[in-house]
């Protein structure tokens, strides 16, 4: 073997034409290697993009379905200006329709004001607001929740069998493409009936959680990063803290859930409330924020610090007038990414006792709560096939929120970079 290599090398160095690769053998081999390498590297990218496209297609098509409904309402449609007002749409159209059915305003008001009467009304009927149904802008569809007057076809199936379905529509029935993700989806409360289930409490729960997490983890995380980078002496304790921070960022989130359960829910006795959930998620987020903020602070050139010190700046003036303004892009990007991670966390919230079914939006930081990922998890576990669409609609909302957050982080980076 070694002899062959030696001979090969000898031949190469004596034969001048071969040395310059006159036949182009080496060039062809390099080109072949290059193609092979590009395939190996490119394939996973193609695969990843393809899978992402499949996921998006699946989720988005699942959030639509064709429904065959037999309305039991007044048969009247209402204009947008009459019916559509944010956060009161459902009640307004129900009121309008019940009026059209001949009930008195007092009766309707009494029903809407009494939670029990309202619950009974909800439980006995499938009530839905439909846009552009029956050629009119807005109508309200009621069918009994126990009958079989509502049938559900997936988007693809409905399109494929449209003519057949259309022909089968009987008198008093209508075929309707239900976009489960409509404006009312954001405000409707949770329900055992798929057509009436909305993301309201979960969305508000998630928003409150995230705001609390930001309020708790940003001062703590950025403060710790500033201390470690600008003030802490370089000794064994600091290095131990650094090591632990890096390890904490990699701890599975379930473990934080157990910690939150034993410390905040049971130890302090908060119970399964928003504050306990937010504290638990903050534990999860702080190490990530610290690491991102430290990277950003470390990226501020030492020459700028020197310049400020040389002009007679105190250490805190250097930190707040030079280091932080120059690190802010990286810090905010890190915070946004960490918060986006917290937004999608399910496991720790399950452990601290986020409820699967919360009928009303939380009223404060000490109410029981649910969050969007928990709600999705609960809906996916439901027996009723229609909940697939509800869950898909919620997944689209969650993905959209994450997309907006990532876009925001990207925009922040660009903005701060162009400012400096």
């Amino acid at each position: 073997m070694s002899e062959r290599r030696a001979r090969g090398r000898g031949a190469g160095s004596t034969d001048a034409t071969d040395m310059f690769d006159a036949g182009g053998v080496n060039a062809r081999r390099r080109a072949r290697n290059q193609r092979w390498f590009m395939t190996v590297v490119g394939l996973p990218i193609v695969l990843a993009v393809g899978l992402l496209a499949v996921l998006l297609y699946d989720v988005i098509t699942d959030s639509f379905s064709w429904q065959l409904v037999e309305p039991r309402n007044s048969g009247v449609s209402f204009s947008f200006s009459d019916g559509f007002r944010p956060f009161s749409t459902w009640e307004r159209v129900v009121t309008l329709d019940l009026l059209a059915q001949g009930q008195s305003q007092d009766q309707i008001d009494a029903m809407l004001a009494d939670p029990e009467a309202r619950r009974v009304y909800d439980a006995r009927n499938r009530v839905e607001l439909m846009l552009w149904a029956d050629g009119a802008p807005l109508r309200y569809v009621v069918s009994s929740s126990r009958d079989r007057h509502l049938e559900d076809y997936s988007l693809a199936e409905g399109i494929a069998r449209y003519d057949e379905l259309e022909a089968a529509v009987e008198d008093g029935q209508m075929l309707y493409l239900n976009p489960w993700l409509d404006a009312a989806f954001f405000t409707k409360n949770a329900s055992r009936t798929a057509t009436m289930a909305g993301l309201g409490p979960a969305l508000l729960g998630s928003v409150m959680l995230i705001l609390l997490v930001i309020a708790l983890s940003v001062p703590l995380g950025v403060g710790a990063a500033i201390y470690l980078e600008e003030y802490a002496p370089d000794n064994a304790i600091t290095r131990l803290i650094e090591l632990n921070l890096n390890n904490l960022a990699g701890v599975p989130s379930v473990v934080y859930g157990i910690l939150g359960l034993s410390v905040f829910v049971r130890g302090i006795g908060l119970g399964p409330v928003i504050l306990a959930g937010a504290l638990t998620l903050s534990l999860l987020v702080v190490p990530v924020v610290v690491i991102a903020a430290r990277e950003a602070i470390r990226a501020v050139p030492g020459t700028l610090r020197q310049a400020a010190f040389g002009l007679g700046a105190t250490r805190s003036q250097v930190v707040f007038k030079v280091v932080l303004p120059n690190a802010i892009a990286g810090v905010t990007t890190g915070v946004v990414l960490a918060v986006a991670r917290a937004l999608g966390e399910t496991a720790p919230l399950l452990l601290v006792g986020a409820a699967a079914f919360v009928p009303r939006p939380p009223e404060g930081i000490l109410s029981i709560f649910t969050a969007v990922p928990i709600q999705i998890y609960a809906w996916v576990s439901e027996n009723d096939i229609e909940f697939t669409h509800v869950a898909s609609a919620a997944i689209v909302v969650l993905l959209a929120i994450l997309f907006v957050l990532y876009a925001f982080a990207f925009w922040l980076r660009r903005r701060f970079r162009s400012a400096t």
Binding site: T303, L304, A307, G310, L311, G312
Partner: protein, 299 residues
């Protein structure tokens, strides 16, 4: 010359190590730089009287951890003159410069013995705030380091630190004029300081240092990253500045020391070898090492 100098350096260093460890290797054919012992006494020509000195450094020693970077340096810096510190890399000239405005305090594990007196105040006295020292003794660094802010805000940075309440516009203009930059930037005060050319950036840094109205300006190789044209402008500027300020400049470039300075101090391995009027140091050096350095034999 530079490459030759670089090639020589390791030789001197290995030799020093060998000698200190007592190894008995044969001395190479090239004549080695003589070593300075603890008994070395700085050679002084026309020394500056204490009364004329704005900064007096007395028997100053400095350690980075256990490494002794300065060995009992004593030097008077005369008012309204330019003093150049020259010497090979690692000789402690930048360290010495930074002791004058206590920038070394920022390095962990630094200890200092000896005295630095400025206007009758002991800068290393117990009740002296290093932040105040740096406000009175300005500094310009090797690489232009304007803040990523507008030209105006760069200059106004120092005064704002102390809560300056007067006419900021006038102060900024005055500082920029003193740094010979006003003509070039008066119409782009709101543009980023990073948009200026390298030489302009360095003059902006000088203006920024002048805006805190110091009486001493320390310059740590201010032109080492600049082209000859920009260097020329800065050197002319230093000539101007000397009327109102005392300037101490560290330089690698001996021609520059010769052009801009009134007095020169030559350092080697943490010791002040010789100091005196620049002409004397360059044309009539008294210590053998100074003679060898200024004639390009090592360094």
């Amino acid at each position: 010359m530079t490459s030759k100098a670089a090639a020589h350096e390791p030789d001197a260093a290995t030799l020093a190590a060998q000698q200190s460890s007592g190894a008995t290797h044969e001395v190479p054919a090239r004549r080695a730089a003589p070593q300075l012992g603890d008994d070395h006494v700085t050679v002084r020509t026309q020394s500056v009287a204490d009364a004329d000195a704005v900064v007096s450094i007395r028997d100053l020693s400095l350690w980075y951890g256990s490494f002794k970077a300065l060995h009992g340096v004593t030097l008077n810096i005369p008012r309204n003159q330019v003093t150049a510190l020259i010497g090979a890399s690692g000789c402690g000239k930048s360290t010495l410069l930074r002791t004058v405005n206590r920038m070394n305090d920022l390095v962990p594990d630094v200890s200092v013995t000896g005295e630095v007196e400025y206007d009758g105040v002991q800068l290393y006295g117990a009740d002296v705030d290093p932040v105040e020292v740096r406000r009175r003794i300005g500094m310009v660094f090797q690489k232009a380091n304007p803040f990523p802010k507008s030209v105006y805000e760069n200059v106004a940075f120092g005064p704002r630190l102390t809560g300056f309440k007067g006419d900021m516009d006038a102060l900024v203009e005055r500082a920029l004029r003193s740094a010979a930059l006003w003509e070039e930037v008066s119409d782009k005060l709101r543009q980023s300081g990073l948009g200026l050319s390298g030489g302009q950036q360095q003059r902006l840094c000088i203006a920024r240092a002048l805006a805190t109205e110091p009486s001493v300006l320390l310059m740590d190789e201010p032109t080492s990253a600049l082209d000859p044209m920009a260097t020329d402008k800065i050197e002319r500027l230093i000539d101007e500045l000397k009327r109102d300020y005392t300037v101490v400049i560290v330089t690698h470039n001996m021609q520059q020391a010769g052009r801009v300075s009134d007095r020169t101090a030559f350092m080697h391995l943490g010791r002040l070898v010789e100091e005196g009027p620049t002409d004397q140091i360059f044309f009539n050096p008294k210590h053998e090492m100074t003679e060898r350095y200024v004639s390009g034999h090592f360094g």
